[in-house]
Symmetry: C2
Subunit: 210 residues, 2 copies
């Protein structure tokens, strides 16, 4: 509907968009280059003009997922500019929500579906930008006494790993049912944040937004 025969000017981005749609609709196993091409209204070989192979499209979709998280974190930082603890908590919750709301996009983005990440500069760049944002939040948190003095990199990496672990297991259904009966995924996030920090974080204090 955007154009008629030889497609719009930007098939590349159209393929990424259609790819994400197909992914959320049919899951990772339903994501094929041929279906994406058909859904975009081009022949099954047209995508090869823009992506060297299927992995390259998956890498582009992963880049899209990282970008979505990046924009969410930026928005959180701007919303609570003087409250680094809040930034930390909201970022962790945003990560959890991403895993719960868009499980397949989350998997492609954060669960190593892309095999040779280093081959995709745009992907490497956005992952570095995301880590940088988290490191900034951690630094500001440490300045107000939330962490003991540890190297920033290690703190940020440890924190992100722990949150990533929780969300991954929740999203894969690998959380013990005895735990799931008593605690919500949100509880697990707060438990982890409390273990990783030197202060007590009360979920009740933070309930007045999504």
């Amino acid at each position: 509907m955007v154009s008629n025969s030889y497609h719009h000017g930007d098939l590349k981005n159209a393929l990424i968009k259609v790819g994400v749609e197909l992914l959320t609709k049919e899951g990772i196993s339903g994501l094929s280059l041929r279906k994406v091409a058909k859904k975009a209204g081009v022949s099954h070989s047209a995508p090869y003009a823009h992506f060297s192979d299927k992995q390259a499209l998956i890498a582009a979709i992963s880049t899209e997922g990282h970008t979505q998280i990046y924009e969410k974190i930026i928005a959180i930082i701007e919303k609570y500019p003087d409250d680094p603890l809040r930034q930390l908590v909201e970022t962790a919750c945003a990560y959890l929500n991403f895993g719960m709301d868009e499980p397949d996009l989350f998997r492609i983005t954060f669960s190593g579906v892309v095999e040779q990440e280093k081959d995709y500069p745009a992907l490497v760049e956005i992952t570095q930008k995301n880590f940088s944002l988290i490191k900034d939040i951690v630094i500001r948190c440490r300045e107000i006494g939330i962490f003991k003095q540890e190297p920033d990199d290690l703190l940020a990496q440890g924190l992100w790993s722990a949150i990533h672990g929780v969300v991954s297991l929740v999203q894969q259904g690998q959380v013990s049912s005895s735990v799931l009966n008593q605690y919500t995924p949100r509880d697990l996030i707060f438990f982890t944040l409390n273990q990783m920090t030197q202060i007590e974080i009360d979920p009740q204090d933070l309930k007045r937004n999504d």
Copy 2:
């Protein structure tokens, strides 16, 4: 070589074994039912007598991966019967080693490649047994003051999630290069254990075995 025409009595286990071999040799993308069948010396439709579909074989391989970790943890507990902290540390390192030594088997086992875990009772059972082992270790650790008083389930789940997060990111190459230049994966594990516990764990104390 085991037999001649109509194969040995246990094609099912032969297929699992060959599947693991093929997995470590060619990776997840190289694991196909047809290749497994050929490698086992049967026609491409023979596996369907034992596995309803490809997912069922993958679930069996995942079960094998969980069983390998289970046996390692059992061995660790028997090796250090009176040292729960050591049990904890060694188990975490075993998890890391599994991720580093057999990345593809690790992925199938712990990274949600199996889509409907609940459909495979043997898989559900071994995951419960593993969680139970970890919970036992955590309980014994708490009794000697390593953790503050928290519910066992939550402690065990939180700890396992954090370790899982570290190993997953390491194994997927998603650890920031600035961190990798300064710290080994083992450092990250010890950092995480130190954050999650109430005592200081010194890696030096534990260096005299693999």
